[in-house]
Symmetry: C2
Subunit: 241 residues, 2 copies
C-alpha cells in the first residue's frame, strides 16, 4: 500500500513506534527492584503497570484543567503509584535511585530497524518527533540511541498531549506546512485516527511485540491508512528512500 504523493515532512510517534519501551523498562525495572530488595516483583508486569497508567494520565491532564506538566513529571507520579500498588512506599526509597529509575524512559532501545529506517527517510524528507515525551527525554534518548531527528517537536512544544488536536495541528504549524502535508508515522491506530481527524496523512508501522504479544488496546481504531509498513526500513522503501 502506498500513496502516490509524498508528504512534505514525517512526524513520528516514538514510544512503541521507534523504541521498544517494554523490553527496556522491564530490564531497568528488574535491576531497580533488585536494588531495593524486591526482586519478588515481576518486572514485566511492573513495566506494564507503569505504562498502563499512561492513557489515564493523558485523559486526566485534559479533564482536570491541570497546567501542562511534562512527561518526566507524569512518569514519576506513575512510578510512585505503581510502587504503592505493590506496597512499596516511594517515600522510603533513595531520591537519587527514584530519579534514575524514572530516567529509564530516557534510555529506551530502538527497534532493530529504527536507526537505519529513520536515516534513509531523513535523506529525502524532514523527520521530527510528534511524541508525548518531553524535549529533554527525547533528546537524551536520541543521543543514546542514535536517532537522527531534524527537530524534536510534540506535546511539550504544542502545550497539549496527543490525542488533543492541538498536538497535531501545532506541529504542522511550527513546520510551516499544512496539516495535509504532514504524515504521522505511528504503531498505534488510535494515534493515527486522531491525526487523520486533523487532516494529517497517516503511516502505520506494525509492532506486534510492543505489548509482549498482548493485543493492542486501540486495535478497534484500525482502518486503511495511506501507508502501512512492517518496519521503518519497509516504510523507507515504500517512500522511495
Amino acid at each position: 500500500m502506498s500513496a502516490s504523493v509524498l508528504p512534505k515532512a514525517l512526524a513520528f510517534d516514538v514510544f512503541g513506534t521507534v523504541v521498544d519501551w517494554r523490553t527496556s523498562i522491564t530490564r531497568e525495572s528488574a535491576a531497580f527492584l533488585t536494588a531495593i530488595g524486591r526482586d519478588d516483583v515481576e518486572a514485566a508486569a511492573f513495566a506494564d503497570a507503569w505504562r498502563g497508567q499512561y492513557i489515564a494520565a493523558m485523559i486526566g491532564m485534559r479533564k482536570s484543567g491541570r497546567a501542562f506538566a511534562v512527561l518526566d513529571v507524569l512518569h514519576r507520579e506513575m512510578l510512585e503509584a505503581a510502587l504503592r500498588e505493590r506496597d512499596i512506599d516511594p517515600e522510603g526509597l533513595d531520591e537519587a535511585l527514584l530519579a534514575d529509575w524514572n530516567r529509564a524512559w530516557h534510555r529506551l532501545d530502538p527497534w532493530p530497524d529504527a536507526v537505519e529506517g529513520l536515516t534513509r527517510l531523513k535523506g529525502r524528507l524532514p523527520i521530527v518527533t510528534l511524541s508525548n515525551g518531553n524535549v529533554a527525554l527525547l533528546l537524551a534518548m536520541a543521543r543514546r540511541a542514535g536517532l537522527p531527528w531534524d527537530a524534536i517537536l510534540g506535546a511539550e512544544i504544542s502545550g497539549a498531549y496527543k490525542p488533543d488536536r492541538q498536538a497535531y495541528l501545532r506541529t504542522a504549524e511550527v513546520l510551516g506546512i499544512a496539516p495535509g502535508e504532514l504524515c504521522l508515522v505511528a504503531a498505534h491506530h488510535g494515534d493515527l485516527a486522531a491525526a487523520r481527524g486533523c487532516g494529517l496523512l497517516t503511516a502505520y508501522v506494525d509492532r506486534p511485540d510492543e505489548y509482549g504479544g498482548a493485543p493492542a488496546p486501540d486495535a478497534h481504531y484500525a482502518q486503511s491508512w495511506e501507508w502501512s509498513a512492517t518496519s521503518l526500513t519497509d516504510l523507507a522503501a515504500q517512500m522511495g528512500c
Copy 2:
C-alpha cells in the same frame, strides 16, 4: 581561555555565529534584484538594510505588545520595507518571487569551520539552537547546510525573542537543566551579556567578517567570557572535543 567545568549543554546563536548571513543574503538578493530589473541596487547594501531593521523589529515586538510572530513573518515585513526604501513597490512584484526571496534566510551558508566544529562538539555535549529564527527556518537551513543539531530551540519555542530573559531561561528549562549548566555560544557580545544576566555560561566566537569588515554594533558589551574562540573548531579543541 577556558573554564574548567564543562556545561551540560551548548546552545548556539545561529545568524552570524554559525552561518554567514551577509554573504548569502547579498548573493541571493543580487539575483532577485536582477530578476526584477533593478540590478542598479547594490546588493550588499540591500542585505545590510534588510538585516539592519532586525534589532528594531525585536525591540518593537517587545514594546508593542504584539502577539508573538515568527521570524519568517518579520523577515517578510523587513524585506518589503527595504524594497520600499529603494522605491520598489512590493505590491507590484510576483508573490512567489517575494516568498522565495524571503526564504533566502533558510538557505544561509555556514562558516567554513561550522559543520566540523558542531560535529565535534556534539560528540561530547548536546548541541541545540538558541536563535531568534523560527523552527521551519532553522530546520530547512540545517538540512541544506548539514548542521547536526540535537534539537531546535529558541525564540519560537520560548515565545520570546532574545534578548528577552524568557528566551534564555525557557531554553534551559526545556532541556531540564539549570541556567548555569547551559552555555550560550555566540559571536555577539550583546547576546552573551543578556545570557550571562540570566546565569548562563558564555562562549564567544569571533566572526570579524560578519558585517563585511564594519564594526559590530554591540562591541560595547564586550567582557571576559568563560570561553573565547576564533572558530567553532577552536571552541571544540578548548572543550576537549
